[in-house]
């Protein structure tokens, strides 16, 4: 009997929906499909996954931010104004008196102090973003300090370009939490130390000042954000933002075209091409700062020869790959700083596929062919496709890539080791300042020859010489225009001489329903802003 009832219910359900019971997404809710199973936290002091940053950026605000349309313009958010001391080491922020948290508490310097300190005190996995200013557990209480309720002081260890410090503070790590609320929920970690509210902020709670508050986080399933009723800025045009875990590009496409979701964040090139024909769908184009490159380990004697490196740079069909595999989702970009960043956009792409020239260079180098190189690439599209295309053209110039397509773990292991020949990868900056890239690719630290501290130049065994000097000069340059000029010079030199073959910069293309207005695409990964969204 129960069986019969169940079957009846299935039949009735099918009839119900056949008669048009399917509804569009509600006007007051923005539904975003994304792969969100990577999110392990929404606490701004430790968040760094793509999906997690995307969600937490809607909840928490930094002291300062920048205009995504013109990232060279830095503006105040929770800080109203700021100044830098004569010696360039002390940054003083005046808090914005209008800002308040979702709880109704005003945002004070004490909140900023607590929030930034806890990144360091928690030993957070993203603490490296702040520790690069010489901050550590011992000195953080002195160096990040609320002088009075409206004034925050940050002391850094040496003279830096002010724009560098400000860009870093504008990143997701700089999100300010409501210290009064979080302190009430402090607990203990396994080793007995204070968790500074980390467990509470990981469990469906939030304490921010942004346009939305966290209502429900069902890990690996969905995130529901609701409008912050106490928001001190312009209220968003929707009551809720619903992030649904929908990992499949093809499924997202169907749901978007059907109108069951408003934004599809994980469409592959093929599906973007397909939905662009739909009149109900709009494609927003933005800049992404993610870059695809491959690195050559100059510890390999063949690769230590600059002629071979140059030959390899001429042995890649950049435009061909961008057209056939990338299909408009990538553009050729051969310098270390992405377009959209300070110092980026110099449009210096000197290399294109030239088999004859490459062959001649190899002949000049005197290195015997074929040059066999062990290569690893991550087994996630589109990386293997890029690598295979490069493998095909390089084989024509006598360079044989022994291409291993591996899982993420071994892939990163090889990356961290220094015994590889060629590594295919991507790079996304951690904060929207050129130094994030320039330091990684251009800085040479003689005390760390294997690059254990994360410098890619050293991992690949490259003494970047003059580039390193320029990079270190640039990060201290106080004048923005001069700083820009330094990056220009450093990049050209880097592209000409480094063992890194930069190939592409991601072009963001986000598909959404026509009636969605006000989405602002960010320039670093997952910095999209939904605070001004409305639906017509």
């Amino acid at each position: 009997m129960r069986l019969f009832k169940t079957l009846m219910a299935v039949a009735v359900g099918a009839v119900m929906t056949a008669s048009g019971a399917i509804a569009e997404t509600p006007k007051n809710t923005l539904v975003i499909a994304d792969a969100i199973d990577d999110i392990i936290t929404l606490d701004p002091a430790e968040v760094s996954e793509v999906g997690g940053v995307l969600a937490s950026q809607q909840i928490y605000q930094p002291l300062v931010s920048f205009d995504p349309a013109d990232p060279t313009k830095i503006n105040g958010v929770l800080a109203e104004s700021w100044s830098v001391s004569e010696d360039g080491k002390t940054f003083t922020f005046k808090m914005n008196p209008n800002a308040k948290f979702a709880s109704g508490n005003p945002v004070t310097a004490a909140d900023a102090e607590y929030s930034l300190q806890r990144v360091i005190l928690l030993d957070s996995r993203i603490s490296f973003i702040l520790t690069q200013f010489g901050l550590n557990k011992d000195n953080v209480k002195d160096n990040i300090k609320a002088v009075d309720p409206q004034t925050l002081q940050l002391v850094v260890d040496q003279k830096y370009a002010p724009s560098f410090v400000l860009y870093v503070l504008s990143s997701f790590t700089g999100g300010i939490v409501d210290s009064a609320v979080v302190k009430q929920h402090e607990g203990k970690r396994e080793d007995g130390s204070n968790d500074y509210g980390n467990a509470w902020l990981k469990a469906e709670n939030s304490a921010g000042s942004g346009p939305y508050v966290l209502t429900k986080w069902d890990p690996k399933v969905s995130i529901l954000l609701s409008r912050n009723e106490n928001y001190w800025g312009t209220a968003p045009g929707v009551d809720r933002v619903f992030l649904q875990h929908m990992p499949e590009s093809a499924t997202q496409r169907l749901a978007l075209e059907k109108g069951d979701i408003d934004i599809a964040n994980k469409l592959g090139p093929d599906d973007i091409g397909a939905v662009s024909a739909n009149p109900d769908v709009q494609i927003l184009e933005g800049v992404s700062s993610t870059m695809y490159y491959f690195g050559l380990n100059v510890r390999n004697p063949a690769l230590a020869n600059p002629k071979v490196v140059e030959a390899i740079k001429y042995g890649v069909d950049y435009q061909g790959i961008a057209d056939t595999i990338g299909k408009g989702t990538i553009k050729v970009h051969q310098t270390m700083i992405p377009d959209g960043f300070l110092g980026g956009g110099i449009n210096y792409n000197p290399y294109s596929l030239d088999i004859e020239k490459a062959k001649a260079l190899i002949a000049e180098s005197g290195v015997a062919t074929p040059i066999k190189l062990a290569t690893v690439v991550w087994n996630v599209p589109p990386y293997p496709d890029y690598a295979q295309a490069v493998q095909a053209t390089l084989s024509q110039i006598g360079v044989d890539l022994d291409l291993q397509v591996v899982d993420g773990g071994p892939w990163l292991d090889r990356y961290r080791s220094h015994d590889l020949d060629v590594w295919f990868g991507l790079w996304g900056p951690d904060y929207p300042d050129p130094h994030s890239n320039a330091k990684a690719f251009g800085n040479h630290d003689p005390s760390d020859p294997d690059g254990q501290k994360g410098n890619l130049a050293d991992r690949f065994g490259w003494d970047s010489g003059k580039v390193s000097e320029l990079v270190n000069q640039a990060v201290q340059e106080q004048d923005v225009e001069k700083r820009k000029a330094l990056y220009d010079e450093a990049q050209r030199l880097h592209t000409d001489t480094s063992p890194f073959v930069f190939m592409f910069q991601d072009s963001r293309k986000v598909s959404m329903r026509k009636n969605v207005k006000g989405v602002v695409l960010g320039i670093t990964f997952s910095d999209d802003r939904y605070g001004g969204v409305s639906k017509e």
Partner: protein, 344 residues
């Protein structure tokens, strides 16, 4: 031997078998998890974290201890009902399993019902009209379900019935505006919404479930009908069926009353195993349909190197298999008098 004692020994030996099976399963998954070339610390801290942070997490996970000590700790915790914490959800693994498993259970139960209700008659018909056209047609239908990748079938199904025809709802368990409305009691959205009397949510859930459940049903029907066919072929050629026919029993009585009754015994095992297969094997269906089930959970945890979650999920599936095996044993005995004789 007297009967209660016999029963006692039976249950006792069964429990020992189950315990050994589960410890074996736990050991196997644990050690495979440890030798896999994935670094759980790295997945937590990310590749850009400082060595200090890495070291802290390394110690937190107890990875500095010898392997056997780690396994011993793990077993001890299991016995206390502690599956550890999943770092990718920041919740106890047990909580996660209770959260994700009902959705899978619900989907695959309906899938199995569809598979049995359609698959058994199909298999019987196939056997009855052996090598005639109904047999050929039904076998092709089954073969398609057996050989076409369920992933592809899912996308085609979505395209036709959701996108083009609009007969069913799309991916996910509910429409957005229904999410979180019904209080979670059993975890089964059908039961919970029925308890709450929220019938529009109930029907919305059915509409979302229809396509994946039908696909799972098709998948299991392919297997069940094939097995039914071969078992029935065997029974129909037996003498007792002939005898029944000679005695003047109707065709229906001979096939359904006599042959199918005897075929039911091996079929119970087939169905139980196919249920187990549905419970663990619906990963692809769950991925395509964004279904928040255990398959999705284990799969994404594995990719995140979230070993506590993977171990917990695998153990759960193992327990389910053991339980299903036990159930089929019990049913086997209930249906087949000879096995009861034997046990005595």
């Amino acid at each position: 031997m007297n009967r209660p004692l016999r029963l006692f020994i039976d249950i006792g030996s069964w429990l020992i078998t189950v315990a050994i099976t589960l410890v074996g399963l736990a050991a196997l998954t644990f050690f495979i998890g440890r030798v896999l070339p994935i670094d759980p610390v790295l997945s937590i801290v990310g590749e850009k974290a400082t060595p200090e942070v890495y070291q802290r997490v390394y110690l937190e996970l107890g990875l500095d201890k010898p392997l056997w000590a780690q396994f011993w700790d793990y077993l001890g915790k299991l016995l206390r009902g502690d599956f550890g914490t999943s770092f990718s959800t920041s919740r106890p693994v047990l909580t996660d399993l209770l959260n994700f498993f009902p959705a899978t259970l619900e989907l695959s139960t309906i899938g199995l019902i569809i598979g049995v209700v359609l698959g058994v008659p199909m298999g019987v018909a196939s056997a009855y009209w052996h090598e005639k056209w109904p047999d050929h047609v039904l076998r092709v239908v089954g073969l398609v379900g057996y050989s076409v990748p369920v992933f592809w079938l899912g996308l085609v199904g979505l395209f036709i019935f959701y996108y083009l025809l609009g007969w069913v709802s799309g991916p996910g368990q509910l429409d957005v505006f229904y999410v979180g409305v019904v209080k979670r009691i059993t975890g089964s959205i059908l039961i919970d919404s029925a308890i709450a009397g929220e019938w529009d949510i109930f029907f919305n859930a059915i509409s979302h479930m229809t396509l994946p459940a039908l696909l799972l049903g098709y998948y299991s029907l392919a297997y069940i009908s094939r097995m039914t066919r071969s078992v029935m072929l065997d029974q129909l050629s037996r003498e007792y069926v002939l005898t029944a026919r000679l005695k003047g029993a109707s065709e229906f009585r001979a096939v359904a009353g006599h042959a199918l009754r005897n075929a039911a015994i091996p079929l119970v095992t087939v169905i139980a195993l196919s249920y187990g297969g549905l419970l663990e094997g619906s990963v692809l269906i769950e991925t395509i349909f964004s279904w928040p089930g255990i398959g999705n959970y284990i799969y994404s945890s594995l990719f995140a190197a979230d070993m506590n979650a993977v171990l917990g999920g695998t153990l759960l599936v193992g327990v389910v298999f053991v339980l299903l095996n036990m159930l089929s044993d019990v049913l086997y005995r209930a249906l087949d008098p000879r096995s009861r004789e034997f046990a005595r």
